[in-house]
Amino acid sequence: MSNNLIVLPLLIPLLTGIVLIFINRHRKLVRWVSGVSSIINIFIAASVVQNVRLDGVQILNMSGWEAPFGITFTADMFATLLVLTTALIGAACIFYSFYTIEEQRERHYYYALVQFLLVGVIGSFLTGDIFNLFVCFEVMLVASYGLIVIGGEKRQLRESLKYVLINVLSSTLFVTAIAYLYGSVGTLNMAHLSQRVAEVSQGGILTVIAILLLIVFALKAGLILYFWLPGSYQVPPAAIVALFGGLLTKVGVYAIVRTFTLIFYHDPGITHTMIAWMSGLTMVFGAIGALAYRDVNRILIFNIVISIGFLGFGLSTATEAGQSGVIYYLLHDMIAKTLIFMLAGLLIKAAGTEDTRQMSGWIRRHPALGWMFFVTALAIIGVPPLSGFVGKLLIVEGGLAAEQYLLTGIGLASSLFVILSLVRIFMNAFWGEEQEIHESAVQPSKKALVPGAALLILLVFIGLGAELLHPYIDQAGDVLLNPQLYIDAVLKE
């Protein structure tokens, strides 16, 4: 029997994307196909999660070649939970696009590009081979280049040029790092890599390679090297930014977590301390950015940066609480960031401006949008019954257990700045006197709130149902803490 189910979450968007190229002219059909396939993919991802829950880490050796020689898809709980989250976010963004993306963009293969982006993201989560990880990164990035430039506005062209340049550079570094790694240990399979690195006990050269990989993934994730992020994420339309904000940087975080819990965990004195301080600085700079701007989008973009810093800090503690906190917070943050960008997109469209100083009194015209924004903001801050709380609590607990008091303090303080920045948007935009409608304002369709509402229910569920989710998170954390589980699953079948 073969485990082909594991590859399905990747295969469905891939086939859908290809089919969408053929039927590109029939707009209605394109929407139907992409919508239906995204929903099917949620169910398949959920069934993979359930399989992993029941039977432990699942692997699929492509073409039937045994582990270190072929490409292995490894579905452990951490990866599959992220795949499920990706499928959910993908579906929400696709349905949101139906109401917000202009016909002009749709005609230029918009939905096909979204599907290929999902292929890249899901592939990155599932793969167990470091070169295949690079390939999946590229699939994701090439699709994101397309999405960021589609529409061809002047500022899109300018920012996509920067985005492409920085990512070409970081991809080159990634290949170089893989070449060094292959040169020194002679394998590309992650489980086998982990074994070989353990055998030679991570000497100087391997730590250097680890740091090179850290720089590469930090560039992708926006961990301190986030300078490309504010500009690039500001130019595409809301549906695309929601997709980017929910997925792209988080794939970088996933790669950091995977690399530093599976392969390079032998010399935490150097690498983990480095991650800790990079995360601390990221949180500080993110907080400064979130307070400095008055544009809705910029504030939210710097909130992404803060949460990346927070995740990095959770990883660097290398404690049990810290790891499950990272998993919890990552799942919550992917959904919450997608949701808040969706809502902000509707707000900006309705107000006709991005400047919070020119918005006022929108609660009376759009009460549903206003209260959804409010609840989402509370969830991001981490108010107890909602989803952000458990993850934050666990990461702080991990930080205290690892005696990182200063960084824990920064982490807690960054929450305050998140509150301040989000509440500032809410108070400026929704409270106050009702203002005249800006001339460039477009009344958004009420239906566009539906996918947002679905994500919001999910966020509330993650918070309230923490007890239900706990065994899943625990199982995911187990593999991160005991890489041997992963190695055994891949290499001894």
Partner: protein
């Protein structure tokens, strides 16, 4: 305005056929010799570009009325479907197989499903290259 390019046109008439044949040869020999779908596809695209340069894109479209974006998609579809075939036989994704068959004319021949995957690569490369070149060429 076109100058007197009779030599280029006569030459490319012969050359493009030779290049296409050679690209097919390279494509078929990829399993046991250097070559394969990628280089074969590039070479076929080279032959088509030669036609486009010598005779203009209109003639190329009249000779081969293809939408190259669909050629790309067809190539991708073929490549993915050879992988999906493994679902039917309940073997791991992308498992390929081969068999030795007795064909008329050719005699004993080894037929491998990997060739179908390669055909997908071939079509994708032709499609992508021609889309890039024709899109840029027609904009001017």
């Amino acid at each position: 305005m076109r100058g007197n390019d009779v030599i280029v046109r006569t030459g490319s008439k012969w050359l493009s056929f030779i290049i296409i044949m050679f690209s097919f040869f390279i494509f078929m020999s990829g399993h046991n010799n250097p070559g394969g779908g990628f280089i074969g596809g590039l070479m076929a695209a080279g032959a088509l570009v030669l036609v486009a340069v010598a005779f203009g894109t209109k003639v190329l479209y009249r000779l081969l009325p293809l939408n190259y974006r669909l050629v790309t998609a067809a190539g991708l579809l073929i490549a993915v479907l050879t992988g999906v075939g493994s679902f039917i036989f309940d073997v791991p994704f992308l498992t390929h197989t081969f068999g030795i068959y007795h064909l008329p004319i050719l005699g004993e021949t080894e037929l491998a499903t990997a060739t179908l995957f390669d055909l997908g690569v071939y079509l994708t490369v032709v499609g992508v290259t021609m889309t890039i070149i024709l899109t840029i060429g027609e904009d001017v």
